[in-house]
């Protein structure tokens, strides 16, 4: 079976700065990958390209059979809606929508809204009693769990998490990591950017980047 993600000689340049320089690796469906490396190593650029938020300068980034580099603006929009779930370090919830409405927003852009399904997704991340709360009324951990529910609501092929615990305290960090572990156990494919080695150790594999190049990509553990 073909890998879910195939990255081949991926390059990304911002003017004279080379953020990614010939990166190649594959990710099998159901894998949990930790992408690690120091600041400026190209981690976020990599998952932005995989998520269709950015386009590579050259090379191939194939997700579930779709070469992201070949998609136009409309194609990227559909790609993001149908294949990718994002979890950001800053949560990025819409401040004037409740937890339930934030999840339904992703449904709205994907196809049609289903309040019952959105409610079930929030109950799954332990927020059944916080449905009608605005983000400002939720703790950091709760907000990140809303973001996870939003990322999962359209059943994406790939979950991209950029420092998902970077803004959380110890207790909330553990809550979110437990959630990611559950998702992995359920068979979700997760690419997670992190600085913390102990969090990276939870993944099946670590991909280390340095100066835009692959520094270390061990096989499945």
């Amino acid at each position: 079976m073909a890998p879910l993600v195939e990255i081949e000689n991926l390059r990304k340049e911002f003017g004279s700065v080379r953020a990614l320089d010939g990166v190649s690796f594959n990710v099998e469906a159901g894998e949990w990958i930790a992408i690690m490396g120091p600041s400026g190593s190209g981690k976020t650029t990599l998952i932005n390209i995989l998520g269709g938020l950015d386009t590579p300068t050259s090379g191939r980034a194939i997700v579930d059979g779709t070469d992201v580099a070949r998609l136009d603006e409309a194609g990227l929009t559909r790609f993001r809606a149908e294949k990718i779930g994002f979890v950001f370090q800053q949560f990025h919830l819409v401040s004037y929508l409740t937890a339930l409405e934030n999840v339904m927003l992703a449904q709205y852009f994907h196809s049609t809204t289903d309040q019952r399904e959105a409610r079930a997704e929030l109950e799954r991340v332990g927020l059944g009693d916080r449905l009608d709360h605005l983000p400002g009324e939720l703790s950091g951990g709760e907000q990140q769990r809303v973001a996870v529910a939003r990322a999962l609501i359209n059943h994406p092929k790939l979950l991209l998490a950029d420092e998902p615990t970077g803004n959380l305290d110890e207790a909330n960090e553990q809550l979110v990591l437990r959630l990611l572990r559950e998702l992995h156990d359920e068979g979700h494919t997760i690419l997670m950017v992190t600085h913390a080695p102990e969090i990276g150790a939870l993944a099946d594999r670590r991909i280390d980047l340095a100066h835009g190049r692959l520094a270390h990509a061990p096989a499945r553990v």
Partner: protein
């Protein structure tokens, strides 16, 4: 979900949107008041001008007709006469439904107690209807052709009042008349005697009229249309509008329209600028949410469509509130400034609302910037 998002957008930005709403409402108030004033004053002015009196006159071509016998005037200065049996039926046939009165006139200088008096032979009822500014003392003629009207100066000179009887003569013919009313017109009519056409023709000794004055209600265009029809019906006669009235009306209405249209355009531009400024600020504030929505798979047309709907609601709400306020304002302006009551025109509502929605959407120009938002850049917090 679209409705929910729209509602949440409106609620979440109510502070900024309130500023835009005030601008749109203010613009709509002034515009609807001006439109109300324009439509109603146009109608009123037309009525006022029509009420000034006849606006079409028919006379014989200078070379046609017959001279009044025994007038002592030379042929060059003698007015030509028209056959009333030919002209009046033709006028009735060609006149439109908005013709208020058709008054034929035969002028001659008769004598009362040897004093010359300008006398007009006419259909007195029609003459009165064609001159709504005349003030009459006495009663309207009852149908007796020996009843007449006298100008107030004539009445004073000869001691006449309603019910008085007197003799009027022309050459060697005399008629015995009864005064039905004394007329105060504030013009030359105050020095004249108005006699029914039949005894007038008997006094002069021929059948004929000098001119026909017609009063038509309606716009300048309707008056012109009637003139054209009359010209076709009476090809050998001189049919012309009384230009002083119709042109004054046309010029005044044109100037009023131009003034109001200029003001409306100016207000629309100012309102659009105000909405534009508000939306520019909102577009900057919304860059992060737009970036997020794009990341979630929202197309820019769907996202901007949401914001345009928000502006549409803003324009419609401002337009509706402004229309209601505009009617109150136009009534106040009508009474205080023009001394006339202005009736609300309901067709101003949809026109103003459409204008304000258009202006609000024109103010959405800054939203074009949102199309260039790169989600990756925005979500990095740059």
């Amino acid at each position: 979900m679209f409705g929910l998002l729209l509602w949440k957008l409106l609620r979440s930005n109510r502070g900024r949107l309130a500023v835009a709403l005030v601008a749109v409402t203010s613009g709509a108030t002034v515009i609807s008041a001006l439109l109300n004033l324009q439509f109603d004053t146009e109608r009123k002015l037309t009525q006022e001008f029509r009420s000034l009196g006849p606006n079409i006159v028919i006379s014989a071509q200078p070379t046609s007709g017959a001279a009044i016998p025994g007038s002592g005037q030379t042929a060059a200065t003698t007015p030509a006469l028209m056959d009333d049996q030919t002209v009046l039926p033709a006028v009735q046939g060609a006149s439109a439904q908005n013709t208020v009165a058709v008054a034929p006139y035969l002028y001659f200088v008769a004598r009362i107690d040897q004093t010359p008096v300008v006398t007009a032979g006419t259909l007195i009822g029609e003459a009165i209807r064609s001159e709504p500014t005349w003030k009459l003392t006495g009663h309207l003629p009852t149908g007796d052709p020996r009843e007449c009207g006298v100008g107030r100066n004539v009445a004073r000179q000869f001691g006449l009042s309603s019910g008085s009887q007197f003799d009027i003569s022309y050459t060697n013919r005399t008629e015995h008349l009864t005064v039905a009313f004394v007329l105060d017109a504030g013009g030359a009519e105050d020095n004249q005697v108005f006699v029914d056409l039949q005894p007038a023709e008997g006094l002069v000794g021929l059948n004929g009229i000098e001119l026909v004055q017609i009063r038509v209600d309606g716009t300048s265009q309707q008056v012109s249309d009637t003139v054209e029809k009359l010209r076709q019906a009476l090809p050998g006669y001189d049919v012309r509008p009384i230009r002083a009235v119709t042109q004054a009306e046309g010029n005044l209405l044109d100037r009023t329209r131009l003034l109001i249209a200029s003001m409306i355009v100016l207000i629309l531009v100012l309102t659009a600028l105000c909405v534009l400024a508000t939306m520019a600020a909102l577009a900057m504030e919304r860059r992060k949410n737009v970036g997020l929505m794009k990341a979630l798979g929202g197309s820019i047309s769907r996202i901007v469509g949401l914001f345009l709907a928000e502006l549409g609601v803003l324009g419609a709400a401002g337009g509706l509130i402004g229309c209601a306020a505009g009617i109150v304002l136009s009534r106040w302006m009508g009474e205080r400034v023009f001394g006339a009551s202005i009736a609300p025109r309901w067709d101003v509502f949809p026109l103003t609302i459409v204008l304000m929605v258009g202006v609000a959407l024109a103010g959405a120009l800054p939203l074009r910037l949102l199309g260039k938002v790169k989600p990756a850049v925005i979500l990095r917090g740059e």
